[in-house]
């Protein structure tokens, strides 16, 4: 079947979609947006969390056909989404494929020098920057889902208590960090937002 929907502000079309495919599969394998992660495919880890019409959901449990005509924001579009938040509509994200990882890109991948940002950090959303700064990223597989969930929490509740953070992120498993640095990151992003108000 054919599915049309908006991803990160850009109209997308997928053809020859098998009816049992999830939104996650379509994003990862058909749209070149592998940022949403495939850790459990049963809604028990949150690593595939995206915003569907603004609402955080597990994209592995949304049937591809269900997103027809709807708006999706993934981690690849999070920075733009956050930047445009004040205008109350999602911004335009990456073009199809531009944010994914082709084999060529993977081959060329090199870790940049640590402590230095290989690009303008203004391109990151505050929560993304806070995750880097607080050491909340290790293997990073849970990171995209956590970022989408944490960003939505701070949108709803700019000054969350620790218990609020824990509750909001209780659907996102992390196996590396023990969550302490993730809490730190959300606190940091909240504190930075308060400073700039």
């Amino acid at each position: 079947m054919r599915v049309n929907f908006t991803v990160n502000g850009r109209q997308q079309e997928a053809d020859d979609v098998w009816e049992g495919e999830s939104l996650l599969y379509v994003l990862r394998e058909r749209m070149g947006l592998p940022g949403s992660k495939n850790a459990c495919e049963q809604g028990e880890c949150g690593s595939c969390t995206v915003r569907l019409d603004g609402v955080p959901v597990c994209s592995c449990l949304v049937a591809a056909g269900q997103v027809e005509g709807r708006e999706v924001v993934t981690v690849e579009g999070l920075a733009d989404f956050a930047a445009h938040r004040s205008e109350a509509h999602p911004g335009s994200g990456c073009a199809s494929g531009a944010c994914g990882t082709t084999l060529d890109q993977a081959r060329r991948w090199e870790a940049g020098p640590s402590g230095e940002q290989p690009r303008d950090t203004g391109e990151l959303s505050p929560i993304q920057q806070a995750f880097i700064d607080a050491g909340a990223v290790q293997c990073g597989f849970c990171t995209p889902g956590l970022l989408v969930a944490a960003d939505e929490l701070l949108e709803r509740n700019p000054e969350p208590s620790d218990a609020d953070i824990r509750e909001a992120l209780s659907g996102n498993l992390c196996r590396c960090t023990g969550y302490e640095k993730i809490l730190d990151a959300v606190r940091l992003a909240a504190a930075r937002a308060e400073e700039t108000v």
Binding site: W18, L33, K37, C40, S114, E116, C139, T143, G178
Partner: protein
């Protein structure tokens, strides 16, 4: 976090920004937060096919026949492979013993063993085709424990063993046995005023890394294959893959893709050979991605164990002796079982001084899921048991459990049961003192003045099971002993290629190793080492691949030590070469080139007095210095097969925990309130990463204390909970604050004095939580994980 200890000896370049000792940020951080980082499951190729693995539905059976005809005839299917399609006479692989069939032949030895492969143009096509493969099994009785494995008429899991352990084991269904005997435990027992014993059970834990097994194999024009995978050790994979494919190693080019966690579970092969076979057969790129269900069958787990311990002590609290017997269930294939046995036996004494010991550890072959490496590697199971013993002894003696441990704590100079002397700091008593000295978290944190009880702070959490009823607090302590690096005479080395050149007028260093970055932050540390050693700000970490020599495994807490050591070593060689060039070009202009101690700092050659002699740009001009060297730690020895004597380990690592828990004693639910850790890290190369490792390891220990267990049906040997619905790992609401206290007592034998850190916190976390639950409930609790049934006697 407090960092204390003696300063370590650093000769070069500490003044360069971003060097060791700083919490520099991850070089892959931005890619990871933007979703651009390429994990193995993110690989994509034009025209690629999807591989699928058909696995045995029974644990032990003869495979009478396999009919793939219908599957092959399915539109969209490009290949179906079974054992008969393997291209060479090498059809098995394995880390130490090559006992694991690439595809099952004649016999399936465990539930979920790969039997056939399918490549198709869509994953659903591959699944549907796999479902059409007809396998006729003739089921065999299952071997599930020591009794069934060593019964006189037991079926042999592996007939005709010829591996190097086969000759010394008491039964062919025992993979390896390692006794350690020192002193006279029976005679010492006679001197004991109190003797305590116990039988302990450790459940099967899963690594539960979040990134499932996956990768992409691309056939090459030269008949070889390019393989992109997530692994812990590229060269070990290569050594096992190439012979099965019938290719020379240089035609199997491996590149590390992004690794979504490992924790030991990627030390063995999973889909590597399968993807290559399908790619070579079809001539097309083949991607394989396990889902979570399959992942539970796709990698080995932590050995479940039964441990019997006896300890004695004198009335004044000194340990007299220890006897123990540790039975590890290795499952159907050897994997890392022999080394796990070596660890379990040699570390079974824990961080205590006990002169008279009688130790035996074995690993079984059974039809249970294969078990192998997981963070803590044999030391975890032992620590759970000996720490329970320490609490029992302290209780018998009426002593404080921490003071009792401190009284018997190992220190530098202690002679271990293996006859090895601990020759670097062993601050066991101090670590315990630190966790004990911390203020306790406030009581009854769920009570909010004038408000409703906040269930998020209570056992049961959001499930709203208590508002304080039945809740009792408990406190427990534990400390553990872990080795660092590969032991028992293994040639444990790493390789680093370091290149310095001038790009755009600035010196740039490229560090190329085959180290698997699995999240631990090795890439961060390598860049820091290069900055420190070469005084260059701009450091590029080359992707890990097999175009450079082996880095060894990202396991055994060894990578910062060994590959970090290799990077340091190669940097030193590059520095010498750069200085040599400098002397050649400029030596005649300034006497200091010949007489002074020279350093590289901020892109310049300087004297130790700080005088600038030359810019690196002028020294090198368009010349590049490019050096690849191996580096190895001090050699170790094998343990004697009868006495267990031998200098088997290179370094030890210590962590202590204090757990504060609240237990709903009526419902048997546990909330861990705080899990404080103190650990000696020798030298924190990156303090932020050190904390992250300690907190992460601590949480995995918490998981196996209260929830994590792969449940295998003892009648069928089938896994009952292969999903994240029923194999539970801690959420952020299950994980307490984890305050970390880091000591830096240098090990003079190690680079920068550092100590491997990744595993030690996983050891002591579990027994500390168990001790706290015992403290709250008064129950004996000899098994982990603790389930509500155990706490409620139901």
């Amino acid at each position: 976090m407090g960092v204390t200890g003696s300063p370590t000896n650093i000769h070069q370049g500490t003044r360069t920004r971003g060097g060791i000792g700083e919490s520099t940020l991850r070089p892959d951080g931005i890619l990871k937060v933007t979703g651009e980082f390429a994990y193995s499951s993110d690989m994509w190729h034009e025209d690629m096919l999807w591989g699928h693995t058909l696995r045995s539905t029974v644990a032990h059976a003869e495979i009478v026949s396999i009919d793939t005809s219908e599957a092959l005839a399915t539109p969209g299917v490009h290949a179906v492979l079974t054992y008969d399609d393997l291209p060479t006479s090498v059809k098995n692989y394995g880390l130490e013993i090559q006992d694991t069939p690439v595809l099952a032949h004649g016999k399936a030895r465990h539930h979920g063993e790969p039997v056939a492969l399918v490549a198709a143009d869509h994953p659903e096509t591959a699944r549907r085709a796999a479902a059409k493969i007809r396998i006729d099994y003739r089921e065999l009785p299952v071997i599930t424990d020591e009794a069934s494995a060593t019964a006189p008429d037991a079926i042999l899991v592996h007939e005709g063993r010829s591996d190097h352990h086969a000759g010394h084991v008491p039964h062919p269904n025992i993979v390896h046995r390692q006794p350690i005997v020192r002193g006279d435990a029976d005679a010492a027992a006679a001197r004991a005023d109190v003797i305590v014993s116990g039988e302990y059970v450790f459940g099967m834990q899963d690594q539960a890394f979040l990134g499932p097994e996956s990768g992409l194999a691309v056939p090459a024009e030269d008949g070889g294959v390019d393989l992109y995978v997530a692994t812990q050790w590229l060269h070990s994979d290569l050594r096992q893959i190439a012979p099965v494919l019938g290719l020379p190693e240089d035609k199997v080019r491996m590149t590390l893709s992004g690794v979504g966690g490992a924790f030991g579970g990627r030390e063995d092969l999973s889909m590597q050979i399968h993807a290559c076979l399908l790619a070579l057969r079809t001539g097309k790129p083949v991607k394989i991605v396990y889902n979570r269900f399959e992942s539970f069958f796709g990698h080995v787990h932590r050995h479940p164990a039964k441990l019997w311990y006896e300890h004695g002590a004198t009335r004044d609290g000194k340990l007299t002796h220890m006897k123990c017997r540790i039975v590890l269930d290795g499952g159907a294939y050897a994997s890392a079982s022999p080394a796990v046995v070596g660890n379990a036996s040699s570390l079974s004494v824990g961080p205590y001084v006990i002169d008279d010991v009688d130790i035996e550890a074995i690993a079984l072959y059974t039809n249970n899921p294969p078990c192998g490496a997981m963070r803590g590697f044999g030391a975890v199971q032992a620590c759970f048991a000996y720490e329970a013993q320490m609490d029992k002894l302290a209780a018998e003696l009426g002593m404080d459990p921490v003071e009792f441990r401190q009284l018997n704590a190992m220190e530098q100079g202690t002679l271990l049961p293996t006859g090895q002397v601990v020759d670097s700091p062993a601050p066991v008593a101090e670590l315990l003192r630190r966790v004990k000295a911390r203020p306790l978290p406030p009581e009854r944190q769920w009570e909010v003045a004038g408000e409703q009880a906040d269930v998020r702070a209570l056992p049961g959490g959001l499930s709203n099971t208590t508002h304080g009823e039945g809740v009792v607090r408990g406190i427990g302590y534990a400390v553990g002993l872990k080795n660092v690096g590969f032991s028992e005479g293994f040639d444990d080395y790493s390789t680093a290629r370091v290149r310095m050149e001038i790009v755009g007028g600035e010196p740039v260093v490229t560090v190329h190793t085959a180290m698997a970055e699995v999240g631990q932050g090795g890439v961060t540390v390598h860049a820091q080492i290069a900055r420190t050693e070469l005084g260059v700000a701009q450091v590029t970490i080359h992707p890990a691949d097999t175009q450079v020599g082996s880095a060894g495994s990202t396991s055994a807490s060894r990578q910062t030590y060994v590959t970090g050591g290799a990077v340091k070593h190669s940097c030193e060689a590059v520095r010498e070469k750069v200085l040599e060039i400098g002397r050649r070009k400029f030596g005649t202009y300034h006497p200091a080139w010949a007489t002074a101690e020279l350093l590289l700092e901020d892109g310049k050659v300087v004297t130790d007095g700080g005088e600038v002699l030359a810019d690196l740009a002028d020294v090198l001009e368009d010349e590049a210095v490019d050096i690849e060297l191996e580096w190895r730690h001090r050699p170790t020895e094998a343990f004697d097969l009868r006495t267990g004597q031998g200098n088997g380990h290179v370094q030890y690592s210590f962590a202590a925990h204090r757990a504060v828990v609240e237990v709903d004693t009526e419902l048997g639910l546990v909330k861990v309130i705080e899990l404080a850790c103190a650990q000696d890290v020798g030298k924190a190369l990156n303090p932020l990463s050190v904390e992250g490792q300690i907190q992460g390891g601590t949480t995995q220990g918490l998981g196996v204390a209260v929830m994590e267990e792969i449940i295998v049906d003892p009648k069928t040997a089938k896994v009952r909970n292969p999903s994240f619905t029923d194999y539970l790992i801690p959420t952020i609401l299950d994980t307490p604050t984890i305050p970390v206290d880091v000591l830096e007592l240098a090990d003079d034998h190690a680079p920068y004095g550092l100590r491997g850190i990744g595993e030690a916190p996983t050891l002591s976390s579990t027994p500390a939580v168990l001790a706290a639950i015992r403290n709250a409930t008064g129950l004996e609790l000899n098994r982990t994980p603790v389930r509500p049934e155990h706490l409620t006697g139901t």
